[in-house]
């Protein structure tokens, strides 16, 4: 970090733009996220139309600013005459709820495994971590694809798939941390006082692995949103007519030339969301634990 040509230069003021986006607090990103959550929650009120009902008579209307656009359908309609805007809005709900639920479940499971492996060590550790290795070594998307065919497309299966594909990440992270924490005096003390393993894991170790867990979670939510979209693209995502963004892109990609708006807007939505999530993730990480930079 040595500024070489530093001599004599007066520090130049930090540009506002940079402050806003890459500054100490990712203002813009957080704004995006809050907006997103707001939209997701209030979808029922703010969406101008139903996300699933449509009329074939209104099929593939362009956005309002293009000629032929209809002011009732700001971002145009899709093949079945459903309002793209409304679907985007409800999509926020579907996609994010799927992503967050999935990441939550995964984190919980992964943490549990990680704690057990790290704390109990020995054979348990070997077995669990070998499993994790296997999990990691298998091509995620492909396994997801196969699972989706096996389980059939549904909201809870998407969550399940994410769980199966992602748990090793969490398990390994938590295990590593646990190994460190469990050698610390307060844990040893607790043990010497005959506190039960569960209590120790829960009361003493878990709080200490929490930060990195949080970081991993925030960083992975974005990935999950993308994974969901990818599944949808491969035709095994959340079943229609539910407007998940992934589904929307998948449905729209056949009409790129004739009706780009169907798949471009959801794509942008995903981009923004995940961008915000990653930014926030980085921020949380740097705040909580710069060591984790390489996750």
């Amino acid at each position: 970090m040595v500024g070489l040509a530093a001599a004599g230069r007066i520090p130049k003021s930090v540009s506002l733009f940079r402050q806003a986006i890459f500054g100490p607090l990712p203002t813009v990103s957080l704004l995006i996220l809050f907006a997103l959550i707001g939209i997701a929650l209030s979808a029922g009120w703010i969406a101008p139309h139903s996300p699933v009902e449509g009329s074939l008579r209104l099929t593939m209307l362009p956005p309002v600013w293009m000629e032929g656009g209809n002011s009732d359908y700001l971002l145009g309609t899709d093949k079945f005459g459903r309002d793209v805007l409304s679907r985007l809005i409800y999509g926020a709900r579907v996609s994010t709820s799927a992503a967050f639920l999935a990441i939550f479940v995964t984190a919980v499971f992964g943490t549990l495994i990680g704690l057990l492996a790290g704390y109990l060590g020995g054979r348990v550790d070997t077995v669990l971590m070998r499993l994790a290795d296997i999990g990691l070594s298998m091509p995620g998307i492909l396994i997801a694809l196969i699972l989706a065919v096996v389980l059939g497309p549904s909201f809870k299966n998407v969550v399940l798939i994410v769980l199966i594909v992602l748990w090793p990440h969490f398990a390994r992270q938590v295990r590593g941390e646990t190994l460190g924490v469990k050698e610390q005096d307060f844990v040893i003390l607790a043990r010497s006082m005959g506190v039960s393993s569960w209590t120790i894991m829960w009361r003493h170790i878990f709080p200490n692995v929490m930060p990195s867990l949080l970081v991993l979670a925030t960083l992975d939510v974005g990935y999950v949103v993308i994974l969901e979209a990818t599944l949808a693209f491969l035709g095994v995502g959340i079943p229609p007519p539910n407007p998940s963004w992934g589904v929307m892109i998948a449905e729209g990609r056949e009409y790129l030339e004739t009706a780009w708006w169907i798949s471009v807007f959801p794509g942008v939505a995903i981009g923004l969301t995940v961008f915000a999530l990653n930014m926030t993730g980085d921020w949380v990480r740097d705040k909580l634990d710069p060591k984790l930079r390489q996750i």
């Binding site: 970090m1 040595v2 500024g3 070489l4 530093a6 001599a7 004599g8």
Partner: protein
């Protein structure tokens, strides 16, 4: 040889401006040794890094002159600076463990400066390297040059970084607490070694340390730094015999003395936060014999004699 005039190096951090070096002035004559003493965080290192113009971000050298062989280094271009660094002025860093690049061999690292400044190539570089390593008494230099840092002991590594400093026969060698990370016996050896080399080759040295003992052993001049300023400067014996600044006295009292009956004392209180210094004398909060004026104005420098200057209200 080297004269620093009113050097001001400040750091512009999010929490405010840290005045690490605030109007530092001193001079080092040819073949002379200046000791720069003070608690950690008083701006010693920044001062010496300023001489090489290697102040870390977000630090800036705002003012002052650094006259080296009559030329102001602050006026030099980056390229010119590069020619000076490592050849005329070189530095030995505090921690040999981290100051050697784990990815390259000793020979490579010692030879680098040689390659750059003396434009030697191939065998001659190695010859030179071995020579320098011998100078700093690295046993088996011929084979050691192929070693990586992590294969050497701490003492050996420190010698190597010494060798790097000396590789181009600099006019001025800056030693930034070169021995803090070594244990006492090795310290002694190393210091003697430096001293010897210095006397033989007649280079000047700026020796940064927080240990008056080392100063006594190594230096002709000593400058006591506190909170980014030099509070007392002068010829070593003079300062040892009549320290004027309470801080200096305190530092001296910290020394374990064989003759003294008094047990080892430490300076009570914390070194001040350089970003928010008191208006008056920055030492006054920790000073036992402070007067009202101390908290109001910073004392101007008082010239006791040619070998001795001090900034303190108690004197004068």
């Amino acid at each position: 040889m080297l004269e620093v005039r009113n050097l001001k190096t400040h750091f512009f951090t999010r929490h405010g401006v840290v005045k690490a070096a605030d109007g530092i002035s001193f001079r080092v004559a040819a073949g002379e040794n200046l000791g720069l003493v003070g608690e950690s965080g008083c701006g010693k290192s920044v001062t010496v890094l300023s001489i090489l113009r290697l102040v870390p971000e977000p630090g800036r050298i705002l003012d002052g002159e650094i006259l080296f062989q009559g030329e102001d280094l602050l006026k030099k271009s980056e390229a010119e600076m590069r020619k000076i660094r490592g050849s005329k002025v070189s530095i030995i860093l505090q921690d040999p463990l981290t100051s050697l690049n784990p990815a390259y061999t000793i020979g490579d690292q010692v030879g680098e400066a040689v390659r750059i400044h003396q434009h030697l190539r191939g065998k001659s570089v190695l010859r030179k390297v071995v020579e320098v390593l011998k100078l700093v008494r690295v046993p088996g230099a011929e084979v050691r040059i192929w070693d990586y840092p992590h294969q050497m002991s701490g003492g050996m590594r420190q010698r190597v970084s010494g060798a790097i400093g000396l590789s181009c026969q600099p006019k001025l060698l800056i030693a930034d607490e070169p021995t803090t990370s070594l244990d006492v016996s090795i310290q002694a050896q190393y210091l003697d070694l430096l001293k010897q080399i210095q006397e033989q080759s007649g280079i000047s040295m700026v020796f940064v340390t927080h240990d008056f003992g080392i100063v006594a052993r190594m230096c002709d001049q000593v400058a006591v730094m506190y909170a980014g300023k030099i509070v007392e400067i002068g010829e070593v014996r003079e300062i040892f015999d009549h320290p004027l600044h309470p801080y200096t006295t305190a530092l001296l009292r910290c020394l374990p003395r064989l003759d003294a009956k008094s047990e080892l004392v430490t300076i009570e209180g914390e070194p001040p936060d350089l970003s928010r210094l008191p208006p008056g004398c920055s030492f006054s909060p920790r000073c036992n014999s402070r007067k009202p004026v101390c908290d109001k104005h910073y004392p101007h420098e008082l010239r006791i004699n040619d070998q001795h200057k001090v900034s303190c209200w108690l004197k004068g």
